[in-house]
């Protein structure tokens, strides 16, 4: 494994084992966490209720009546010692259509302007400025120019956290709102720190808001074809490419969703961490070609 520092473990009282792979975000830290959690899942330990992978950490929820905490810790640490971080990943790339600068997030961000760093502008204008980009169009071009890696699913049901496949210097970074909003439109594209997200449901949120997608990503009724297997669409390791669309295309897609006919463009893909690290500009373009 490239990451040599050992994982830091800590018990979240008697039902959780928390593991910090790294205190900073990187794809390497994510891959290491993924390797260890997959190794733990393969052990199929009695009493392990849930193995939760996050961006640069993971957590195991367990029943201490069935597995003693230190027995679990020993098993996880030996899995860590033996886990060979997979440097390639069989995954899929998904094209997500986005109406950037849409009227619904705009209405919401105006409503909560007093909670924002820059009450005089919009979230997109603010994000463009603090990332040194000329204008909103340049920001949208950067946001949709390179694919994103789903590095965590959570906060609320089915919400993907995404990390863009660019060199660290080009990572888009924005702070969260000064105080969280009590409302965020469903299917809003958000951004906080270095992470993008798609709000799977309407609700509270603190990320900056850039647009909306017409594509449902969580649905307990499982009405669309790509949600038939599971009500939650995204999994860590998925790769996402955003595709800017206009209002007309958005309205058409929403009508297709309502009619139960909407589908996503999804292609299988092999991702190589080493190929990305060797050529962080050129390699993501080859991934995008899979969608062509």
């Amino acid at each position: 494994m490239a990451e040599t520092s050992p994982i830091r473990y800590s018990f979240g009282a008697d039902e959780h084992l928390f593991a910090e792979v790294s205190d900073s975000m990187s794809l390497e830290a994510f891959f290491k966490g993924m390797a260890v959690t997959r190794a733990v899942e393969r052990l199929a330990l009695d009493g392990v209720l849930d193995v939760c992978l996050a961006n640069a950490s993971f957590q195991i929820r367990f029943d201490p009546d069935r597995i003693a905490p230190h027995v679990l810790l020993d098993a996880v640490q030996s899995a860590e010692a033996q886990a060979v971080a997979e440097r390639t990943l069989h995954t899929r790339i998904i094209e997500i259509p986005v109406l950037y600068n849409d009227p619904w997030t705009h209405e919401t961000l105006m409503r909560f302007r007093d909670r924002h760093q820059d009450p005089s502008g919009t979230d997109l204008e603010y994000a463009a400025r603090i990332n040194g980009l000329a204008d909103v169009d340049a920001f949208i071009a950067a946001h949709s120019g390179a694919p994103w890696f789903v590095s965590m699913v959570g906060f609320v049901a089915g919400l993907p956290f995404m990390f863009q496949m660019v060199e660290r210097e080009r990572q888009l970074q924005v702070p969260k709102y000064l105080r969280p909003r009590t409302d965020t439109p469903k299917l809003t594209l958000g951004h906080g720190g270095c992470f993008g997200c798609i709000y799977s449901v309407r609700g509270a949120g603190g990320y900056q808001m850039f647009g909306v997608t017409p594509a449902p990503i969580y649905d307990p009724a499982q009405q669309l074809a790509y949600l038939k297997d599971h009500m939650v669409f995204f999994r860590p390791g998925d790769i996402v490419q955003f595709k800017p669309i206009d209002r007309e295309a958005y309205d058409l897609a929403v009508a297709e969703v309502d009619a139960g006919r909407f589908d996503l463009r999804i292609r299988p893909l092999e991702f190589s961490l080493d190929a990305f690290l060797a050529d962080p500009i050129g390699y993501p373009k080859t991934l995008q070609e899979a969608l062509a």
């Binding site: 009282a13 008697d14 039902e15 928390f18 849930d50 996050a54 640069a56 957590q59 905490p69 699913v153």
Partner: protein, 324 residues
């Protein structure tokens, strides 16, 4: 069938919860006071994990459309059946057409209603519990509304009116609460002064206290040790690279007001957690009202496991008590 005449403040169908989907952001849900729901179920002859109603602060008004055996456990909410007082922790017979009403709790925050046969909503991901944020499970994925008609399952026939929980197995609710906490996770990022004041000072439950989490106020602000924030963590010293949140974990956004996550928790986020309330004390949080006083005390993992053994022993003592 039970007809909801008035829904109350936040009444929802809950069982003991669902496990195995937290990695997709779907929390366990289930009764915040698992002991009370289990007790009510035992009294009416249900398995302890049958679905009941969790009635929070302002209880519902319910009309029974058929005869039913019912029990209530948890917060003391002065229940009356057609105006007649009914007793807590004791099974009672309801006739078709009778109406059950509650008052604001004298003590505690949530009372649990079990009906023989259970509330017969569909299993979703292995549970009948409501997860409101995700519009999942329970009765149409939401809190109850006026006019809802709740189906009742087939009674086991094991329950009897008059079944009463022995005094030794009843719990007092209300009063000052001490929550036991295993320090850990990002605890070491706190300054020594913050570590000390968090456990030394009294806190009170804030108005933002629900199934997702309980916010506490009144103690000193907690400072984190200064550091250059790691890449991706966000700029505030209380920020971390977004990670998973244990149920019961305590986060302190901007160092101001601690939030203890409960069974409808957001599954992760970017605030450092400083410790976790032990599993045996989670029920106590579910019975706390806004403005109630609370303190936190540090315990070891071994003490948490011992407390869990004591808790589970009491739960187990109910098994078979009322079998005929």
């Amino acid at each position: 069938m039970i007809k909801v005449l008035k829904p109350g403040l936040a009444t929802s169908v809950q069982d003991l919860g669902r496990e195995g989907y937290y990695h997709l952001g779907i929390p366990p849900s289930g009764a915040l006071d698992q002991y009370a729901l289990s007790a009510a179920n035992h009294l009416v002859g249900n398995p302890p994990g049958a679905a009941g109603l969790e009635c929070t602060l302002i209880g519902p008004e319910l009309e029974f459309r058929r005869d039913a055996l019912v029990a209530l456990s948890g917060a003391l909410m002065a229940p009356r059946l057609d105006g007649e007082v009914v007793h807590q922790d004791t099974a009672f017979q309801v006739r078709a057409g009778q109406v059950l009403r509650f008052e604001f709790p004298l003590a505690g925050a949530r009372t649990y209603l079990a009906v023989a046969g259970g509330i017969d909503v569909p299993l979703v991901l292995g549970s009948r519990s409501t997860y409101t944020l995700g519009a999942l499970g329970g009765f149409h994925g939401r809190r109850l509304q006026a006019g809802d008609e709740l189906p009742i399952g087939e009674p086991s026939g094991q329950g009897r009116a008059g079944n009463s929980l022995p005094m030794a197995l009843r719990r007092a609710v209300g009063g000052d609460v001490t929550l036991r906490v295993v320090p850990g996770l990002y605890y070491e990022r706190l300054t020594a002064a913050a570590k000390s004041s968090f456990f030394a000072e009294p806190w009170t439950v804030g108005s933002e206290a629900d199934r997702i989490g309980y916010r506490f106020k009144g103690g000193s602000a907690l400072s984190f040790q200064p550091r250059e924030q790691p890449f991706g963590a966000g700029s505030d010293p209380s920020n971390i690279v977004d990670s998973c949140y244990p149920i019961g974990s305590i986060q302190v956004p901007a160092g101001l007001e601690p939030i203890v996550l409960h069974r409808d928790a957001v599954s992760g986020g970017g605030y450092a957690m400083i410790g976790t309330v032990i599993s045996a004390d989670l029920d106590l949080i579910g019975q706390m009202q806004p403005n109630q006083r609370a303190g936190f005390v540090a315990v070891s993992l071994e003490q948490a496991l011992e407390a869990r053994r004591v808790y589970k022993k009491r739960l187990k003592a109910m098994t078979g008590l009322f079998n005929t």
